[in-house]
Symmetry: C2
Subunit: 461 residues, 2 copies
Amino acid sequence: MLDHSHIYFFEKLLDKENVYNDKAHMIAYSYDATRAHFEPDAVLFPRTEDDVSTILKYCNEHGIILVPRGAGSGFTGGALPSKGGIVLAFEKHMNKILEIDMENMVAIVQPGVINMDLQKAVEEVGLFYPPDPASQNYSTIGGNVNENAGGMRAAKYGITKDYVMAIRAVLPNGDIIKAGKRTIKDVAGYNIAGILIASEGTLAVTTEVTMKLLSKPKMTKTAMGIFDTVNSAMEAVYKTMASGVTPVAMEFLDNKTIRAVEQTYNKGLPIEAGAILVTDVDGNLESDLDFQLAQIEKVFRENGCDEFVIAQSEDEAADLWFARRRASQALSVYGSKKINEDVTVPRAVLPQLLKEFDKIAEKYNINIPCFGHTGDGNVHTNVMVDGKDPEQVKIGYEAIKEVFQATIDLGGTLSGEHGIGLAKAPYMSMAFTDEEMNLFKTIKKAFDPNNILNPNKMGLD
Amino acid sequence: MLDHSHIYFFEKLLDKENVYNDKAHMIAYSYDATRAHFEPDAVLFPRTEDDVSTILKYCNEHGIILVPRGAGSGFTGGALPSKGGIVLAFEKHMNKILEIDMENMVAIVQPGVINMDLQKAVEEVGLFYPPDPASQNYSTIGGNVNENAGGMRAAKYGITKDYVMAIRAVLPNGDIIKAGKRTIKDVAGYNIAGILIASEGTLAVTTEVTMKLLSKPKMTKTAMGIFDTVNSAMEAVYKTMASGVTPVAMEFLDNKTIRAVEQTYNKGLPIEAGAILVTDVDGNLESDLDFQLAQIEKVFRENGCDEFVIAQSEDEAADLWFARRRASQALSVYGSKKINEDVTVPRAVLPQLLKEFDKIAEKYNINIPCFGHTGDGNVHTNVMVDGKDPEQVKIGYEAIKEVFQATIDLGGTLSGEHGIGLAKAPYMSMAFTDEEMNLFKTIKKAFDPNNILNPNKMGLD
């Protein structure tokens, strides 16, 4: 519980309307997209960067925990106040697109801006912000930067970190810093923006982000390939990428996922197929798109693709994407509890990774349907169990541990885009040596010696 | 001077042939591409990462300064032992390309590999490593990563940091860490590779780098535009980039640079022109290249370009590039001492930046010819003075300070690609606030509490 003197301080600073500490709001801010929940002691809505600075300085002096929160759409509990304290929320005030600089192809945004709002605003003027996490309709740029969000277009366009040119942030001691500039190149001083990205709000509070924009490609085409086996589809993925074309997206569904979608939506999907790959290509010239699609079809057909379909209209493209977009929801046919991970491996070991997952599914007699961003080696791995059966849930988590081990053994990472937060903290020691964990802790301590900023995350304490 | 017991320790560890401490070698390792020189007390050639770890642990325990060195081709003294101590050199042993992984499009290299050797090796198998600093024929990947080197192709392909997927490094205490993976996405733990890039060897010693590779584009075309005024050329630069094409390179020479090259080489250059822009486009389809060139020509002609030439052969392309490639050497017609900086601004303020430079040149009655990577806002700014006249040299440095101030006032950076090192350390406080400098110092101290690793650089002490 926060002492009333603290609440009084914040109410005086921000006005009462920007300080919540009633039970209903505490419950509302206790959740994210995991099923864990932890109530904060208060929720503050800073109006300005100076507010953020004053709040941090005060909390640092009084040892009050502070957890920055975007939309609360994270999959790993990164924005949950697992040790209580204050949630700092940006959706009320610090939610503006401050500038779209068309000449330099840059956007300046506050942390509370919703990803899709930024995408739409820049597309209206012919520019393009590629990172498109599945949460794009509600997740915020502040959250995207702090988790280094990915998305469907990462195969060609990279992830959030590839678009961050500068970050303004407040350090735990209240110091306001700017890291980076509206320039393509900048090698003066340490790359502070580089370490803030993906730091899950544990090092500093982001108050403004400068994002690189691209020109919006004039056209996109969609194609789908149907494969006999998941192995041949995985071979086709990395061979396509190595053949000289870079599709915007290269997404897959395995047989179990195809069956789940078909069972749920009756779309006439090929339920005998080992896998489906759906791919988008883009560019400014019809001939370029046709060249890319011809190359993809060639590699697909050389690698076990029986059927290759190119969408001839936007409706047909939406049809080809339907199964992929509904995959996550449809999996409930396999159990009420889905333990979903976003492990990522070097693309060429995708065939081996999926074989390992098959072995794990067989060993525990469970379903592990997979789909996801194979163009960048990122597999959404879903361990499905009966959520009402504690024994099943226990088995599910044992299987997940083996999923992580198989991933790490193949040179992969615990998380391609969701982060560590609370949910994956127990697995950090599988992925990192003591020396590496010590370095993380040293960095955390350098930025935040009193451990007030989003403590208890990333396996650091 | 190093105590002989230390030399004995290193000779025992590395064999005598890998420990130099004779005068001739100390002189040889006292230089880089600046004219400053500082002799080390010894030069060590580690054979393995374990050697590096043992050396760092020993130096950390005994308070011995250690300076990692690539090819010594830096422009800011970053690899100079300005406080004495040991130079750690990688050219003898840790200079191998360990693997080119074609399936994952990744190269694993040791720090002593020369940039061009990596470029050639990957191009032989159809892949592409874009970063091409002017020093590419001799500078090393270790140096490139630690300075975050840029190059001609940055406008389209970005800089070194955009290709670093993972770094193995040894911390000052001897701990060996790996940061990053052979995966496109990885958000587990802090982005240590992000902070090591551009850290100028002050935080850790790089022992291995995993580099992302691209498919080699099948063709390149070159064009040149001649402009009445430098202002109109600068307008054309950012308008081209914003128009939807992204040239590989977009390089410029101002009138003074054109005249210097013509005076030196007699190539029939347009000495009345305000500026020349030279540009490359690349891709896999002739039609795509033609589309890009047509778009560039259109924007150029709308912005004061009188003459636009497309090279019809490799020889013609080399001709168009000739002036740009010889620009640096030719400038000696303006004075024996060149104080060259690599300031970078947001592209759209290039016209204003060059106007400011004109004012500074006029004020001090000196020549400041400019050329460089305008596609990414990076201007090689050359303050030319008579090196034998101390008064002229003093005036030159006063002018440089104003060059930096104008750059900073326009939202630019002290350095686009050369780093800070010793040469720009005095200007750091112009570019960063006390809070930002404190953060840099805090990070340095967290990694290197005894300040043994490349001290006295980046304005940190």
